[in-house]
């Protein structure tokens, strides 16, 4: 779902977050992704799930997530994933 660029930044943010949560729930339902902050440490996102998550994120936001970014800090919460995606998008621009 491409993000309309004429929207304000806050709304843009919300759309990205919603999308991320949607993707997470499709891979591993039943977790409260809005508030959870230890997805990797508590093994909700194990290495195989991350392996499925990354291509989804790459497709949705048209970015490339290099292996070096696969660290717990970037994936422990939906907010962290959001920050990662946003940063990569800006870097590519």
């Amino acid at each position: 779902m491409p993000v309309p660029t004429h929207m304000g930044p806050r709304l843009k943010e919300r759309c990205t977050m919603d999308e991320i949560i949607e993707i997470l729930e499709s891979l591993k339902p039943g977790v409260d992704y809005e508030t959870a902050d230890n997805l990797v440490d508590s093994r909700v996102l194990d290495s195989l799930t991350i392996l499925a998550l990354v291509p989804e994120l790459e497709d949705a936001f048209d970015v490339t997530i290099p292996a070096v970014e696969i660290v717990p800090a970037n994936f422990n919460s939906a907010q962290a994933i959001d920050a990662l995606v946003t940063r990569l998008v800006e870097e590519d621009a």
Partner: protein, 545 residues
């Protein structure tokens, strides 16, 4: 315990080497302390491997040069980009290619060195057997130079250094001495942990003075490691060694006991050595990464490998699993698989290819032998099956109204994981693939409690012909000592799993408490340790890998 310097448990190390290094470190000026550590590390290396020291020197220099070359390339690229921002993407790509070449050469050279020194004999044998399959009985003669201590560990560290520079995580180091110290730091050289440059290089350089808190915490940790090794690991050797050496003489019950006891022995030896390593580093104010996190609390085999030999697992994950899985060909495979067989099994299939590579590497890293590769692939199958069976297990449990977070299920998972681990370690320790298969056959086909009821098990032991004609084994008191230690370790583990760091809490208690703890550990080691006449202390197991 011998008087020659051959491990952290030799007398010479404890009474001479370590104290001298500690004193030298403390009296020297802060900016020179790294030099003390470096000299000590190379002296230690020389004491164990003598002339083979040349190989760690070669690795260090190669890694230093490759790192600087990559740094030069990146600076060049950034200069060009500053001039002409429009070519940013293509320049990045071009220089990435150049850097990849340098990184590949650097890593490849070091891996080749590792292969030649450690695996050549094994590869020779494999080639020989392959040729024999085709009827060609060519003796494959292979030169044997020797295996420098810690080569499996420092090679991985060297590779990670180059990979991290390539990926832009760290900047290359212009100081050869610092890289040399990073790779050779003596507490970690024998059995790891496998550190990343970003984790330890800065700390090693800092020259933190020895303060009483660190000295105490480090000493307690070192003594704890000694206790584990000498009270449990060395003691169990009297029973484990004969069973594995003479494996055709024992029934399935004894084999099962051997698997359990060996796993306990291996854990106490390896984690005990880690305690000594991390404790020693702590005295110098250096925090090395943990290699164990109470692995026997694991509920699945995957979780086990997140708690056992942590630094190896994370190295394989960060430098093989993710890069391979996210490489272009693998991504297209994943995509195609997701289309064909859905979101669950698609990534799993693609992931299984990299998983295979990771576990093959894990097995091979442990040793030049077919049973180590078998060990790696054993876990590959277990973990893959776990992933495949997961949705089925979920629906079955839902139907049977089994609470997957309840105590009963968790106990089942825990026991199941223990069995998987014990069987894996059985093959790991067996004297070759044949022995492993034979013993496993006995385990499942000839399991009986007979040897425990008729006294045969208690009669197992080693002979020391120069001392006595009797067989020296373990008596009930020995097992009681082991059991007591296991209970104490479990209590410590439970406390630490809850997040409380015991040594830190102890460091803040008053003098009497602190000294009582030290005395208790020292006395326990001296009295209950397994050393002296009629014992068979282990050489640190992981030092051979």
């Amino acid at each position: 315990m011998d008087f020659s310097l051959h491990s952290y448990f030799s007398i010479l190390y404890i009474v001479a080497f370590l104290p001298i290094v500690l004193v030298a470190y403390q009296v020297v000026a802060q900016r020179l302390r790294w030099a003390v550590l470096l000299v000590a590390s190379y002296a230690f290396f020389w004491a164990i491997s003598s002339k083979l020291i040349v190989f760690i020197l070669i690795s260090t220099v190669s890694v230093y040069l490759a790192g600087r070359k990559m740094g030069a390339l990146f600076s060049e690229r950034d200069a060009f980009i500053a001039q002409d921002k429009t070519r940013k993407k293509e320049l990045k790509k071009l220089y990435q290619k150049k850097a990849r070449l340098v990184c590949g050469l650097g890593v490849g050279f070091n891996l080749l060195l590792l292969a030649c020194l450690k695996y050549l004999v094994f590869f020779g044998e494999v080639t020989g057997s392959l040729l024999a399959l085709f009827g060609l009985n060519v003796p494959v003669a292979v030169p044997y130079i020797g295996v420098p201590i810690g080569i499996s560990f420092y090679t991985l560290m060297a590779a990670s250094y180059l990979f991290d520079i390539y990926r832009g995580t760290i900047a290359p180091d212009t100081n050869l001495g610092r890289i040399a110290l990073f790779l050779s730091f003596f507490p970690q050289i024998m059995e790891g942990p496998i550190c990343r440059y970003g984790q330890t290089a800065e700390q090693l350089w800092a020259g933190t003075p020895i303060n009483k808190d660190n000295l105490y915490r480090g000493s307690v940790r070192i003594l704890w490691g000694f206790a584990k090794k000498m009270i449990v690991a060395d003691r169990l050797n009297l029973v484990v060694k004969p069973i594995f050496a003479d494996y055709t003489s024992y029934d399935g019950g004894v084999v099962a006991a051997a698997a359990v006891l060996y796993t306990l022995q291996l854990y106490c030896d390896f984690s005990g050595c880690m305690d000594v390593a991390l404790g020693t580093a702590r005295i110098f104010g250096i925090a090395l990464p943990e290699n164990f996190r109470h692995p026997f609390f694991s509920r699945t085999a995957s979780e086990f490998w997140l708690r056992w030999h942590i630094t190896l697992g994370s190295w394989l994950r960060d430098y093989i699993f993710y890069p391979l899985s996210l490489s272009a060909p693998m991504k297209s495979l994943t995509k195609a698989a997701r289309h064909r067989i859905g979101n669950r099994y698609g990534p799993l299939l693609a992931g299984s290819v990299t998983l295979f590579c990771v576990w093959f590497a894990n097995g091979l890293w442990h040793g030049a032998g077919s049973q180590y590769i078998f060990f790696g692939l054993y876990y590959f199958v277990i973990i893959l099956l776990g992933g495949l069976v997961e949705p089925l297990a979920q629906s079955v449990c839902a139907k049977l109204h089994i609470n997957r977070e309840g105590t009963a299920w968790r106990t089942f998972q825990w026991l199941r994981t223990l069995v998987v681990v014990f069987v894996g370690e059985l093959f790991f320790r067996a004297e070759g693939m044949d022995a492993g298969l034979y013993m496993f056959g006995q385990l499942v086909g000839n399991f009986t409690f007979e040897s425990f009821t008729n006294g045969a098990f208690m009669a197992i032991g080693l002979t020391f012909p120069s001392v006595t004609t009797e067989v020296v084994g373990l008596c009930l008191q020995d097992y009681a000592a082991v059991a007591a230690m296991v209970v104490i370790m479990t209590i410590v583990a439970v406390v630490e799993e809850r997040g409380c760091c015991i040594t830190e809490r102890l460091a803040h208690k008053n003098l009497a408490v602190r000294w009582v703890v030290l005395y208790a550990l020292i006395i326990a080691i001296v009295i209950f340790g397994s050393y002296g006449v009629g014992t068979a202390p282990l050489d640190p197991i992981y030092a051979q890998f």
